[in-house]
Symmetry: C2
Subunit: 227 residues, 2 copies
DNA sequence: GCATGATTAAAACAATTGTTTTAAACAAGC
DNA sequence: GCTTGTTTAAAACAATTGTTTTAATCATGC
């Protein structure tokens, strides 16, 4: 029983990847589709089409949709592990400057329109519908960054601050930054120009200022023995 | 062609609702399932089963899954519109106390294990996959509460604070509270005892303290003409 | 050029899902 | 008791989705 003759590639489709490129094209396409749609709504046919490949290639190269998703997370995590957002920030002379730079870096990563935001966007979806991959993603990618920010916060709070206080203050900073990513539709409705040109810079300045003031006051309390 | 004989209700199933109660049972069941699963993963068969009704009842009473979802949102919004979380908080004598009470009320609502958290949980899912209903939900339920918190913030910041500053400070407070709802799996991994007994009260105290310090510092800046 | 393994593409499959169909059962009014 | 409209339940339907099957095509090595 001969197979039907294969169709030539359509004129307007994505260029066919070279043989060794199909897997990479699928990985890229899947990343984009998972970021846009989340795992549940992402369709293997969309991914294949976007990659210029056949839907059976997903099973061939990755074993299936779920394994492809895990590979996307692993791949994005690997891309990020090599670069910590605050590496240069930690070198700054003053702890205040370090915090400003860290907040700016964190917020700009969250609000980036390109692949810099992929991990964060995938994280948002994972948080709402966790898969087993979340634990690894947090441990390998998020926690190291969190620890770096905590170190800056600890410097600002001084030697009297216990670990819990440092952690809670760090979470207060992270939450302000992350909020503008996950709650974007809400913010756009409550404060419609927040994401306009120049908006994110203003937000970063505000978050840094708000948080620095809080940390300085907490430090004073701790040193006055009021805590 | 006679229909197959109808099966008697299974012994262990949900008690069958009275005739006038099926619609209400479906609405309650749907609320729970949409909160747990989100719209996309929620299955009409699960909802029907949970309500002790037949799957065709959803179409009969609501026209379909989507219309049921919209009705759930409308219904939950209506439940909330009649009660603002800070009504009694606004009566407190001091603005500081008002803020503390507001933060406590907001966080406890977000972290409630019962229906008090339904609107917030549905909002989290809407934010990640917006439907047209989000705009109405924000306008009718969230924005009024936001305005009340803003009024407290404005009192704390004093007359020199412009609207944008008030809004951004209010968002800084809301984001800290909301974070512990949407990012729960992350927080549980980074700060594992945050949700233990007594944890939420500690968090509320921390958020209020952190935010009050920041607002007081901002007020001083404004009044010193530094802003 | 042949053999072998890798890769691809189209068709088919199996399961799932929300919706529709249809008639039975129910409730209310006369 | 009959009629009428409402409500329900089981079966069927149609569409969708990820996966599997199968053979063609390709690439490499001898």
């Amino acid at each position: 029983m001969p197979k039907p003759s294969r169709t030539p590639p359509p004129a307007g489709a994505a260029p066919l990847p070279s043989r060794e490129g199909t897997r990479a094209a699928l990985l890229d396409a899947a990343t984009a589709v998972f970021v846009e749609q989340g795992y549940d709504l992402a369709r293997v046919r969309d991914i294949a089409e976007r990659a210029g490949a056949n839907v059976a290639a997903i099973n061939y190269h990755f074993g299936g949709k779920e394994a492809l998703y895990l590979e996307v997370l692993r791949h994005q995590a690997g891309e990020r592990i090599e670069r910590y957002p605050f590496a240069d920030a930690a070198q700054l002379a003053g702890a205040e400057q370090a915090l400003r730079a860290a907040v700016t870096a964190l917020l700009s990563r969250f609000l980036a329109e390109d692949q810099r935001a992929f991990v964060a966007k995938l994280l948002m979806r994972e948080l709402l519908s966790p898969t087993p991959a979340l634990r690894t993603l947090v441990a390998d990618v998020i926690a190291p960054q969190f620890r770096q920010l905590s170190a800056i916060v600890a410097r600002l709070l001084g030697p009297k601050a216990d670990t819990e206080t440092v952690t809670r203050c760090t979470l207060s900073i992270v939450s302000q930054c992350m909020f503008y990513l996950f709650a974007r539709p809400l913010v756009e409705q409550l404060a419609p120009h927040s994401y306009d040109s120049g908006g994110p810079a203003l937000l970063a300045t505000h978050i840094a200022q708000f948080s620095l003031a809080a940390l300085q006051a907490r430090r004073r309390d701790l040193e006055a023995g009021d805590a």
